[in-house]
């Protein structure tokens, strides 16, 4: 009995004395940050947060997004200053999106990201986005049509990335990983404001191109589709292409139903070349009622060839843009060399920017119409 008591006492003592995390806080005394962003760094950091405040209790409880803005010398102190207007303990672990303005992105992301990565209660699965042609505050104060709160709206759009190729989502850990890894540059999806029923509504499309931690330019929605394809992250989405069939030109809508990407470095002595082979599986989503018979193998073959040519052209354009205009290796060709041909990479690593600018890339696109919907033949009207 005495032994038991001693054991219990020992357990209690160990539990209480060897730990330092007494963190008991009532849940209703916390304010949940669901999204945050930074508009400016110099001269003062402007921190914008969106919080989910509840109004009413029990079954009548509703969430109202509240946007609070503070200015401070640093991001951390700015975040702490929020406790004053909020009146509650600020709880960051539920923050899902983090936005930066174009100006902040151009000035360098590291000043902003360093305290975020250091903080113990922020998640590295937060989505990073760049506000295009507007400030972060404007984004957070815009009105998404259905969902309550901009952060929730943005998160649900990002979750759709599997079926939309308009953007490539990036989480905090992916972005910082790309900053540190050799031979790759980072991109972030862009947020724009569009008019919708008299209100401004945020949409995610396009991408911001980075070189190290500084943003150097934008990619349009169409260019981002190619980016997603060449990063192997495109699983869905539609595109319209003017297709010539039996002498007639028809705008046909195609659907991505899958793609296989093979990127391979070819080293021949001093000469380095990349070989990109892309194999597309497409579905036909609509022909605007045109007289196209997909049960005819010749038609299908013709369409496949045209789509392959079309994508080869778009990929060449895209490569020219990133190699010559931006000179930023956002596809990670360098990283591929580092992995597959480490000896060659060591030789050209210090001179990679110049090598990348003139790197010959052999593009090969193969296309297959895998699915034509529930009809292969056109719908014929009676004469």
């Amino acid at each position: 009995m005495k032994k038991d008591l001693a054991r219990v006492f020992f357990l209690c003592a160990v539990t209480l004395l060897t730990t330092g995390c007494w963190d008991y806080t009532e849940i209703e005394l916390r304010d949940f940050v669901v999204g945050a962003g930074v508009d400016a760094v110099e001269p003062k950091v402007i921190v914008i947060t969106e919080m989910a405040k509840s109004t009413g209790t029990g079954q009548e409880a509703e969430f109202r997004p509240v946007v609070l803005t503070t200015e401070a010398r640093s991001l951390t102190s700015g975040a702490h200053n929020l406790a004053n207007p909020s009146g509650m303990e600020i709880f960051w672990a539920h923050a899902q999106v983090f936005l930066v303005s174009e100006e902040v992105a151009q000035g360098g992301m590291l000043t902003i990201l360093e305290p975020i990565i250091r903080a113990r209660d922020l998640r590295s699965t937060m989505y990073l986005l760049v506000a295009k042609d507007c400030t972060v505050e404007e984004v957070f104060k815009s009105k998404p049509p259905l969902l309550t709160g901009v952060s929730q709206h943005l998160t649900s759009i990002i979750r759709l990335s599997a079926i939309s190729a308009d953007f490539v989502p990036q989480q905090l850990w992916q972005f910082t990983g790309d900053l540190a890894a050799p031979g790759i540059s980072a991109t972030l999806p862009a947020v724009e404001l569009v008019h919708e029923g008299g209100n401004l509504m945020p949409v995610v499309r396009g991408a911001a191109v980075f070189k190290l931690d500084r943003m150097i330019g934008w990619l349009s929605k169409e260019e981002t589709q190619i980016l997603a394809l060449l990063k192997g992250e495109s699983e869905g989405g539609f595109f319209v292409m003017d297709t010539e069939i039996k002498g007639n030109t028809t705008a046909i809508t195609y659907e991505f139903r899958g793609s296989q990407l093979k990127t391979k470095p070819i080293v021949d002595g001093e000469r380095v070349e990349m070989k990109v082979s892309l194999s597309l599986q497409l579905g036909v989503a609509g022909t605007r009622g045109a007289d196209v018979d997909f049960s005819d193998p010749a038609v299908v073959r013709g369409v496949e060839e045209q789509v392959a040519r079309y994508f080869t052209r778009r990929i060449r354009d895209f490569l020219r843009l990133i190699q010559e205009d931006y000179n930023s290796d956002i596809l990670g060709f360098g990283r591929l060399l580092w992995r597959r041909e480490p000896a060659t990479w060591r030789k050209i690593e210090s001179d990679w920017d110049a090598v990348f600018r003139g790197l010959p890339v052999d593009v090969e696109v193969d296309c297959r119409i895998a699915f034509t919907g529930f009809r292969a033949q056109p719908i014929k009207m009676r004469n």
Binding site: T19, D23, G58, Q59, A61, F91, Q96, D121
Partner: protein
């Protein structure tokens, strides 16, 4: 009474009064004034035999005996027989026992103590003038409850028999299930005052001899004056008496007892209670129901899994809720944590007080309902569910999520009825550790309980055995139950010497 006096330390004057006198009147006088003084239920029936007339007395306790039996088979034969004049003393008594009394159970006694023992246990004692010996005839007969389905262990499918308060009936119920001479029943008397009859049942050749001896020794060592229920014995002989986890099983069902002793356990049946004890009792048994063995093995395995999950829920839900809400809201999905925050907004008490108070209210309601007559008990549960739950949320005294937590805890507790009371204590422990240290404290509490369980034994067998078994044969009847034709061997710890349960011939037939 005799025993009272002995218990008080007043020893009877043994030397001259312990033995019966040859004088019938002296004996009766002594009985009336000493042994059965102030006891109006003792009947002294005087009668005479035929020529040559001899005075006889039949002594028995009213309502403990079958009156017709006493009249037909003891009094009448004696009255109509003529005892040979030349027979005296021991030979006379022998003649009466062998040729007059028509009963299968008759013993000769020579002391007052034996006479009293027989009479209070429902025997009829015959004294004859001129003899210093008496005859005790078994004539027990009292009101018994009939064999009905037990209230605490009802089944959907399975036998509807339950033990009664009568030991003889109970032993026969088990015996009828195991028609083998290997089934052994050994009787003991326990309790200085109550002299309660205890039957120890086991199957020879399956139950290890050491286990049977150990049970015997432990029961023999009991020195108490009363055994009114098998729980008394359980508490005297169990291992780890200070731990709330049961180390001895109890059941009201003969089929359960039969099943247990066929696996090599020992059962202890106690007169006066329908609850039999089985030992050793392992942790896995708390999650087994006899119906598991009557249903399809997949269904049974599913039910068992449910019981384990329910045990986790009933012990851990309040602690986990508290840990997550007060220490780690980041582990709750965002929308849920916001809605919990909204629900708790106007509640004046900290979450910890809320959890403890609601847990207490639930236990009060349960305890209030258990022992009340059924109609009143229902009223209590209605008051509990509607008035306290609904009104408390309406008045913002507790939050709605808390009601769900208490509800889940309570309902899950009823699934594992054998550990329900133990679960309450574990729950309280985990609530405290979680409130202080969050999930860290919760895990600390779980680890403490696991250490305790792993260090426990029941009659020399590790308490967690077969649950922690790494062999396939050892795990066949634990969280899952495999079909009977797969359970070739008996549990290794319980029946180490005679392990084969399924004979080779029938095994090959099933394949």
């Amino acid at each position: 009474m005799f025993f009272w006096k002995r218990a008080k330390g007043e020893q009877p004057k043994t030397r001259d009064l312990d033995r019966l006198s040859t004088s019938l009147e002296t004996n009766l006088k002594w009985l009336r004034s000493n042994l059965f003084a102030d006891d109006d239920t003792i009947v002294y029936r005087r009668f005479k035999t035929k020529e040559p007339t001899r005075q006889c007395v039949l002594i028995h306790a009213n309502n403990m005996t079958k009156h017709e039996f006493l009249s037909d088979y003891i009094v009448r034969p004696l009255m109509i027989s003529s005892l040979p004049r030349e027979l005296h003393g021991q030979r006379l008594i022998q003649h009466i026992t062998e040729q007059v009394i028509q009963s299968d159970g008759a013993t000769v006694f020579s002391s007052y103590e034996k006479l009293a023992e027989g009479v209070v246990a429902g025997a009829g004692a015959v004294l004859v003038e001129g003899c210093n010996l008496g005859i005790s005839v078994d004539a027990q007969g009292w009101e018994k409850r009939s064999v009905t389905e037990p209230q605490t262990e009802s089944v959907v499918r399975g036998p509807r028999q339950g033990f009664t308060e009568d030991l003889g009936v109970n032993v026969s119920l088990v015996r009828r299930k195991i028609l083998s001479p290997e089934l052994k029943v050994r009787m003991m008397d326990v309790g200085l005052q109550t002299r309660t009859k205890v039957a120890i049942m086991y199957v020879e050749g399956i139950a290890p001899k050491e286990l049977v001896d150990e049970v015997f020794q432990r029961i023999e060592r009991i020195e108490t004056d009363a055994i009114l229920e098998s729980g008394y014995i359980e508490e005297f002989i169990r291992d780890s008496p200070n731990c709330p986890f049961p180390t001895i099983g109890h059941t009201e069902r003969p089929d359960r007892v039969a099943g247990k002793i066929l696996e090599g356990r020992v059962a202890v049946l106690v007169d006066g209670t329908p609850f039999a004890l089985t030992m050793p009792f392992l942790f896995v048994e708390a999650f087994q129901a006899n119906e598991d063995y009557f249903h399809h093995w997949m269904v049974a395995s599913f039910h068992r899994t449910l019981r384990y999950i329910s045990f986790f829920l009933t012990t851990s839900t309040p602690g986990l809720y508290l840990a997550l809400v007060t220490h780690h809201p980041q582990l709750i999905p965002m929308s849920l944590s916001i809605s919990i925050a909204a629900a708790r907004k106007n509640v004046p008490f900290p979450a910890m007080v809320e959890v403890i108070a609601m847990g207490l209210v639930f236990e009060i309601l349960r305890e209030g309902g258990v022992r009340l007559p059924k109609p009143v008990g229902q009223a209590i549960s209605i008051v509990g569910a509607i008035v306290l739950g609904e009104a408390a949320v309406g008045a913002s005294l507790v939050s709605a999520p808390m009601i769900i937590v208490v509800g889940v805890t309570g309902v899950a507790g009823f699934v594992v009825s054998k550990l329900n009371d133990t679960a309450v204590l574990i729950r309280i422990l985990l609530v405290f550790t979680s409130a202080v240290l969050g999930l860290y404290g919760f895990l600390f509490g779980i680890m403490g309980i696991m250490v305790q369980l792993a260090s426990m034994e029941s009659f020399g067998i590790p308490y967690l055995s077969s649950l922690t078994s790494l062999t396939i044969q050892g795990s066949k009847d634990t969280v899952i139950r495999l079909p009977w034709w797969r359970m070739v061997l008996r549990p290794r710890h319980l029946a180490p010497k005679n392990r084969e349960r399924l004979h080779r011939q029938s095994r090959s037939k099933t394949k």
